[in-house]
């Protein structure tokens, strides 16, 4: 019965193939290297969507597989974005400052350059000194380490506190939401050191690569995002397919049983919480250079709830479900809010989708939760002829995050 990862999960290969085809397709149709059928801004949208799919996988690991409804993963996503944003902003500002100071009659001292950069970056919040947290912003390597370390450490500390006091279910959800809110409020302050509600901007410009057109940069990021998504998917599939996955699903459906089998449930939860936070951080670090700007509003609690919505609509507990959900909802959302959907005149009132899209999303979410807990991913079960066991309305376990009868695989 010892089969390879791919043999046990044929969906992994199918997914990777689809992802590769998609990336090649977009490249072939892009402005930079192809026919130009897809505009650069849409390439960026697609690249961002891939990042959202990656964080959706993280969410699926933590919620769909382990049963922890975290409403805080977008905070980790945002932190990853901030960490890479610091380097991008520092280096780019430095380039500009050095160029402009080259015209001075006396060449600038290093101190003068630093002061000028500080003034340029923090002028908007009425300061010119570099806060301590920017100490590493001059080094890409160190900031890349922080992309992983900062979300990971926050998740580790928060998770350790939360799990060791056995906060579970809804309580944990509310607590993670509170953490996200606290972080967002902290970042909103001007003296947080990250430019308050101005956030970090100009992130789409790669330092030292001004000559490279955005069309090409957008493709690079699309490739990087696709690569990260592919690796993330592989990693997640590997984690959930073995005995570790068994433990996670056990925790989701019946935490007490796992504990009485001798597994330290808290350690496992902490492990998966931290690992997914790191994945979220990486996804964020790839997302925000494509978005160009990051500000604290991005990590408001509502963003994390949307993340749960994507995973639920895609179908939790299956990795491709999370990807489909994130891609589908975020793209449809872009389409609707972009004003491209024709309004519906009702005679007495015209339904303008820019205004009514959120209503539609909210209600469709209620409907999915009520009537199609397997989400869009569940459609694949008709194809594979999988059918859930009839359990007379019983859930698969007593845990708050346990699968419902209708969610279970055959």
């Amino acid at each position: 019965m010892s089969k390879s990862l791919f043999a046990r999960n044929p969906s992994v290969l199918i997914f990777l193939a689809c992802l590769a085809l998609f990336t090649l397709g977009v490249t072939a149709l892009s402005e930079a290297l192809g026919t130009g059928l897809i505009s650069t801004s849409f390439v960026k949208t697609l690249g961002k969507t891939l990042c959202l799919c990656l964080i959706a996988i993280a969410m699926d690991l933590v919620w769909g597989y382990t049963g922890i409804l975290s409403l805080g993963h977008f905070a980790f996503f945002g932190l990853g974005g901030y960490m890479i944003g610091m380097w991008l902003m520092y280096e780019r500002t430095r380039d500009i400052i050095v160029t402009s100071m080259a015209n001075n009659d006396i060449p600038p001292t290093p101190q003068e350059v630093t002061d000028a950069i500080g003034n340029q970056i923090f002028g908007v919040v009425g300061s010119s000194d570099f806060p301590v947290i920017w100490a590493f912003s001059h080094s890409l390597t160190l900031q890349l380490v922080l992309v992983v370390a900062v979300p990971g450490l926050l998740a580790l500390v928060f998770g350790w506190l939360a799990f060791r006091s056995r906060v579970t279910g809804v309580y944990l959800s509310i607590l993670t939401q509170a953490m996200t809110l606290a972080l967002a409020l902290f970042l909103f302050q001007n003296d947080s050191g990250l430019r308050g509600n101005n956030g970090l901007s100009g992130l789409q410009n790669l330092p030292g690569l001004d000559a490279v057109p955005q069309a090409t940069v957008s493709l690079w990021f699309l490739w990087a995002s696709a690569l990260a998504l592919g690796l993330g998917y592989l990693f997640a599939a590997w984690v959930v397919s073995g005995k570790f996955g068994s433990v996670l699903r056990g925790i989701r459906d019946d935490e007490a049983r796992v504990r009485f089998l001798g597994y330290s449930v808290e350690t496992y939860k902490l492990f998966i919480f931290t690992v997914t936070a790191i994945i979220a951080g990486i996804a964020g670090a790839l997302y925000y250079p494509q978005a160009g700007i990051i500000n604290p509003a991005e990590i408001a609690p509502i963003a994390s709830i949307y993340l749960a919505v994507w995973v639920a609509i895609g179908g939790r507990g299956r990795l491709y479900g999370a990807v489909i959900g994130a891609a589908f909802v975020s793209l449809v959302s872009t389409w609707f809010t972009g004003g491209q959907v024709p309004s519906i005149p009702l005679g007495f009132y015209t339904i303008d989708w820019v205004d009514w899209w959120l209503v539609l999303l909210g209600l469709s979410f209620v409907l999915v939760t009520l009537f199609a807990p397997r989400g869009i991913g569940g459609l694949f079960d008709y194809w594979t002829n999988g059918r859930p066991p009839n359990r007379h309305g019983q859930d698969l376990g007593p845990g708050a995050g346990a699968l419902q009868e209708k969610e279970a695989d055959a």
Binding site: D105, I106, P110, S173, L181, Q189, I305, W356, L358, G362
Partner: protein, 651 residues
Amino acid sequence: MRVLLAALAAILFLSPTLQAQPTTVQEVLQAHGDAIAKGSRKSIGPAIDAIAASGLPQAQTVLETWQAKDMWQRKSDGLFFSAKEVAKKTYRLTDFDTGQTVGEFDKGDLRQLKPNSGVRALIGVALVQFQLSDPDPARRLDALTAIQRDPEPSHLAPLRASIDGETDPAIKIRKQQLETLLTIRFDSDDASRIAAIETISKDISLDTRATLNTLLATTRKAAPGAVPETENIAAVLKPGTEQLSAGDAYTLLADNGLAPALITDGEQRNILSANISGGKVSGVPVASLNTQAARDRAYAALVAEGKAVPRPTAEDITAALANHSFYDAYFEPSKPVTDAAAKALKSVEIRVAFNQTLDLALDGISLASIFFLAAIGLAITFGVMGVINMAHGEFIMMGAYTGYVVQQFIPNYTVSILVALPLAFAVTFAAGVAMERLVIRHLYNRPLETLLATFGISIALQQIAKNIFGTQARPLTAPEWLDGAWVLNDVVSISFIRIAIFALALIFLGVFLFIMRRTRLGLETRAVTQNPRMAASMGINPDRVNMLTFGLGSGIAGIAGVAIGLFAKVTSELGSDYIVQSFMTVVVGGVGNIWGTLAGAAMIGFLQKGIEWMNPSNTLAAQTYMIIFIIIFIQFRPRGIIALKGRAAGD
């Protein structure tokens, strides 16, 4: 009166022109006729004093007329009259002493006295003594307020003089208070000043504190050698300490010309830049000036050439600092007075701190009531039924909008609020029941799915509200009798709306306890909560009970919405502003217990106010710290302040 007489006597004695007691004000005016006609601020003093001190009943009228630029001099004989324009270029003159009309004169025969603003101010000061004794109490109060706003040493004597004759007790108290404050600031006798200071050391009003603070105002000074003994020293400072950094100390020296000024790096750069010649500064190539060390070398070369002044070195600075003393000196020269004032201020500050604590506690109570109101509905649905309702905040918002809509139809604010409260309850009750029937019923025992489904409803409701009412804030106006505040003293006050919300919170607590303990619904709810199957087998319809309980919780949210709308702006995001705090309240308090909710609301309310007080500039930081505190609090009491124990906790 004694003082006034003394002043009078002094003036009589000092004025050589006034040999005898004048009988008419015209005599007085004529005695100072030249000065009055000249109208110079420097020389007018004796004239005004003479008029004011003449003791004649017309003096006030004369001064007022003069100040209003209505006093004219007749060119023919130099007499002064009150004039009124009766026709173009024709003025009717009235004699000050008799009050009789003298006749009508052409403008060419008259000369208008136009006192400048300085003179008018002096007249004003002189007038104060008359206003302070004016028969009209309102004018006396105006005079007091004017003095209070801008006190001057000259006010002291007339104020003192007017106290004995004061008939209105309230005004008398105010006069005495003001007299004390003026004595402290302006009296020439230290002993009476100190005595006055001691009398106010229990008073926390803003005026008292302002007076004491003015008295204790200091200026930072530096002097060569030891601290000069002529100064009234508040504190001696050492450079390089927290009170006075070494840099600031040196700047102080430089500003006072006690040491050569510092040359900043920027100034150095400008000097270097001004001395560039042929790509070099004093022989140092410009291109190499990209380090501070290189610049220092080039600058030193400039100094050697005599083109720049040397920068003070670190040793220079240290020596300069060592050779000077730094101190804060009081503007007030008298040490006993400043000592007494400092002591009094300390005692006042203790009282102020106590009152501030009281004020903070009132603020905390009012915030706690708001959280309690917002959370009580949630406590019912979450605590009693175990249902997470993320749309709870939107029910609060619906209540607030209901209040707004009612006000569009009923213009009387009192009536409209009375209509809005039950209507908001009805609207949100219906919405709650509908939601329970359509969605939540199918998701019992699935808390996480409930959370997400109700979140879907929440964003839909929020967007619908935005589509209907727009994004701008809508006013929900409180009735007039709720405007204003209950002011205890200058420190402690609380607005009536907040008192009303506190009362409302108490009423809700009572209603909730009544429903749960005294009604059939409460009994059935408790039965269904504890054991739904047993309850069902005893003929209780759990569906109906759940529906009604959920409706009740939602309805209360609606009423809370009206209350919150009265002081917060009504927008579609009103609910989401409160939802996290509401959840925190319930979680911190302990689920399933109304007293827990109360305790949670109290804790969060007081905590938030307390943190805001410590860091008053930043409510965002206060909220951040509060949430962090709650996360840590949950570590120690995972089930809240008032926790159910044992099997009932559903372990």
